[in-house]
């Protein structure tokens, strides 16, 4: 045994000078393990592939216009002439601010520009130099502070109740009609929401698919499949109820001036009745035309624009 031992020692002894070498090889192996593999390193070495020149500063229009700016979905021509936006949410607030008598200019924009991820939002003039935009959820409060109009929700218990018709029944039918009805999507939504963003066909395809998927997900939140007849029947019922609520009055809840509820109704009725939208299938619009007072209500309010 001892010979074996000695033998073993004897065997290692001649190699002992190279112990350093062995430890370096071990650290090298460890380093290899932690170092970045060559192909990946090569990829990273190539970055940045291209360095673009710095963007110009955003062209400030402050010099031409010093008013409140409402950022909505609209096109350049529409924004110059203050035309109604083609998005119901934006149109609702655009109309409301007009009705309560606040001066503003519309600016074409997209959801990506908004701090909350949704349009509309408003950049107020006052206080000067403000950089905090007002999202749509706080617009009413801001308007009340500015012009001291009434908070209409408090005046009638039916406000919130009938508003639920617009926020659910009519909105769901609208989502289907605009995004999921193939004819309408290709004729209307593509033209308004997809094509202005880019000229790249691949990006357009992806954007269009995303829009449709978002609409579908929203509708599938409350049910397991989308039943078109159901959605349209609910919307027809909702229009009937709204028409009944309006009755012979000039404005909803018999108010002397149009207000938030009128704006919310107008946002949908205008877009459904507007010939310029280019609807291919407009079953909702056809249903809506049956209620003469809603059609006249829309025409009266359109004169404000």
């Amino acid at each position: 045994m001892s010979t074996e031992n000695r033998d073993g020692l004897g065997h290692t002894a001649p190699e002992s000078p190279s112990a350093d070498e062995r430890s370096t090889s071990r650290t090298a192996r460890a380093r290899d393990l932690f170092s970045v593999p060559a192909p990946i390193k090569r990829i990273f070495d190539r970055f940045p592939l291209v360095v673009y020149p710095a963007n110009d500063l955003p062209q400030s229009r402050d010099s031409e216009f010093r008013g409140n700016r409402l950022f909505v979905f609209t096109d350049a021509a529409g924004s110059r002439r203050g035309r109604p936006s083609f998005n119901p949410q934006c149109l609702k607030w655009q109309a409301y601010l007009k009705f309560v008598g606040i001066e503003f200019e519309t600016v074409p924009s997209t959801n990506h520009a908004s701090p909350t991820g949704a349009l509309p939002f408003l950049l107020p003039t006052l206080p000067p130099g403000t950089i905090n935009p007002i999202p749509s959820t706080k617009l009413q409060k801001w308007a009340i502070e500015q012009v001291h109009c009434e908070e209409e929700q408090q005046l009638n218990i039916r406000f919130e109740v009938y508003a639920s018709l617009l926020d659910h029944r009519i909105r769901n039918a609208w989502l289907y009609a605009l995004y999921l009805d193939t004819d309408n999507f290709n004729a209307v939504a593509r033209k308004l929401y997809v094509n202005p963003t880019t000229t790249n066909t691949a990006v357009r395809m992806v954007l269009a698919a995303q829009l449709q998927q978002a609409a579908r997900d929203e509708l599938l939140k409350s049910c397991t499949y989308i039943d078109v007849n159901d959605l349209e029947a609910e919307a027809a019922n909702a229009f009937e109820a709204l028409s009944n609520l309006l009755g012979d009055h000039t404005h909803f809840f018999d108010r002397p001036n149009p207000g938030l509820f009128d704006a919310s109704v107008f946002a949908y009725t205008h877009l459904l009745l507007d010939e310029g939208m280019g609807w291919k299938q407009n079953r909702l619009g056809r249903v809506l035309r049956k209620y003469e007072n809603l059609v006249q209500h829309r025409e009266r309010l359109l004169k404000c624009f």
Binding site: A28, T182, R216, S222, Y225, I226, V228, E240, S243
Partner: protein, 435 residues
């Protein structure tokens, strides 16, 4: 012909755990003669071709959803079984608007109370589902329903009622802090919080939101009801009464550990509470037990005076196997989507689905569109991967480097390789630190 109404089973001493089912049963007990229908607590949406409950079976026709069932009954009886036939124009408008209001707002509140508030879900709702569901479904369906309820109430910004969401948020912040290197690892103490500390922190923030939400819901209803026996007319209930009773009893009845909804209802709307009690006693029965629904043969049952329960069929081995297979297949990505679309189409094209020709065409067109979308996304992923690999091969990132890597560096202590490795680490380190 006997009409069969398939619903989610009883829970919390109510005849169903689902508001739409409760509304439908109330409607049936109000308009139909007792011997014209039976109630089956099948608690399995797959009984109906549309995969939804409540579902009405009339011979070979299936109709699902409250409103469709109401419409079907009207047509089926030639206008006789219709609660809303005597309403005037104004009442009809109110009926439509308030129904939409009750369904949208009530559903959010019930979701928040029964599903999103974690203690309520784990203590009460989940066991209640366990009692009414058959074997494989009790593991499959409740998580799905739970997830859907969370999704529906996401926009209300009250996810802090959900302890799981809070924990996830904390974990995220925790790992973000570690990753940012702000806190030395040794100093980080794992946040160990009990349910009560979490609640005491969040409940004050939530209190305001919940206060506002419940007030918005109860106040218009309370003022519409006033001192009348029914919402819209002094002598006749309407569909609004059915829907309101359903959501209000789910708000009032369950004895939950975190009973904010019931407390709000009792303090803000005493009139509604009394209404709910009275209506429930007359039309749904006070103490409905699961056993009544599952074992009853529609003979007289003492506790539920008005509901003609019929015991659901026991699941056969074939259905059990199918359920298990379906669940497995449904949790496989890609396959899941294909199956979902096919199922929709089958449901729509089935001759007895209860959908009209136009409807079934629309549903199947929708399913087809989903299928195309899916193929499109699979295709685009494959194409873009191929393009990336092609590009890398083209500029020589991939091909040569593979050959180089095969040089064995461990066995051969080559000083050059060593230096290379050091340099690599340096460059990459710089790159990372720039980030």
């Amino acid at each position: 012909m006997l009409l069969e109404l398939h619903v989610w089973g009883p829970a919390f001493s109510l005849p169903s755990i689902d508001a739409q089912c409760l509304a439908t049963m109330t409607y049936f007990s109000l308009v139909l003669p007792k011997d014209a229908w039976v109630l089956v607590a099948s608690s399995d949406p797959s009984v109906s071709p549309t995969n939804e409950l409540p579902a009405l079976r009339s011979g070979a026709t299936w109709v699902s959803r409250f409103r469709n069932i109401v419409d079907y009954l009207r047509q089926y009886s030639g206008g006789e079984w219709d609660l809303d036939r005597d309403l005037t124009g104004g009442e009809r408008a109110d009926n439509i608007a308030f129904s939409s209001f009750v369904e949208s707002r009530g559903q959010s509140l019930v979701d928040l109370s029964l599903y999103v508030s974690s203690q309520n879900y784990w203590d009460k709702t989940s066991p209640a589902y366990g009692a009414i569901l058959q074997w494989p479904n009790q593991w499959i369906l409740p998580p799905k329903i739970h997830a859907q309820a969370k999704l529906r109430t996401e926009h209300l910004g009250l996810s802090s009622l959900d302890l799981e969401a809070i924990r996830e948020q904390k974990d995220r912040e925790h790992s973000a802090a570690v990753a940012a290197g702000k806190i030395p690892k040794t100093l980080i103490r794992n946040p160990r919080e009990t349910v009560s500390t979490l609640l005491s922190k969040t409940s004050q923030q939530n209190q305001f939101r919940l206060e506002a939400l419940t007030a918005e819901f109860f106040e218009p209803l309370e003022s519409l009801l006033g001192h009348q026996p029914y919402f819209l007319s002094p002598d006749r209930p309407t569909t609004l009464d059915c829907l309101a009773l359903a959501y209000l009893s789910l708000a009032d009845i369950p004895d939950l550990p975190f009973s904010w909804l019931r407390d709000a209802m009792r303090s803000k709307a005493p009139g509604l509470t009394a209404y709910t009690d009275r209506m429930r006693r007359h039309h749904l029965g006070l103490e409905v037990k699961v056993i009544d629904a599952l074992s009853a043969t529609s003979t007289s049952s003492t506790s539920s005076p008005s509901l003609p329960w019929q015991a659901p069929e026991r699941a056969s081995f074939a259905t059990l196997g199918k359920t298990l297979y379906d669940t497995l297949a449904d949790s496989t990505p890609i396959l899941k989507h294909i199956r979902l679309n096919n199922r929709l189409r089958e449901a729509a094209l089935a001759p007895h689905s209860g959908l009209s020709g136009k409807e079934s065409k629309a549903v199947s067109a929708y399913a087809l569109a989903r299928k195309h979308d899916l193929y499109l996304s699979i295709g685009s992923v494959v194409v873009s991967l191929a393009a990336l690999v092609g590009y890398m091969a083209h500029i020589g990132l991939v091909g040569f480097s593979l050959a180089e890597q095969e040089v064995p560096s461990g066995t051969d202590p080559d000083p050059d390789a060593d230096i290379d490795a050091v340099v690599d680490a340096g460059q990459v380190g710089d790159f990372l630190s720039m980030l």
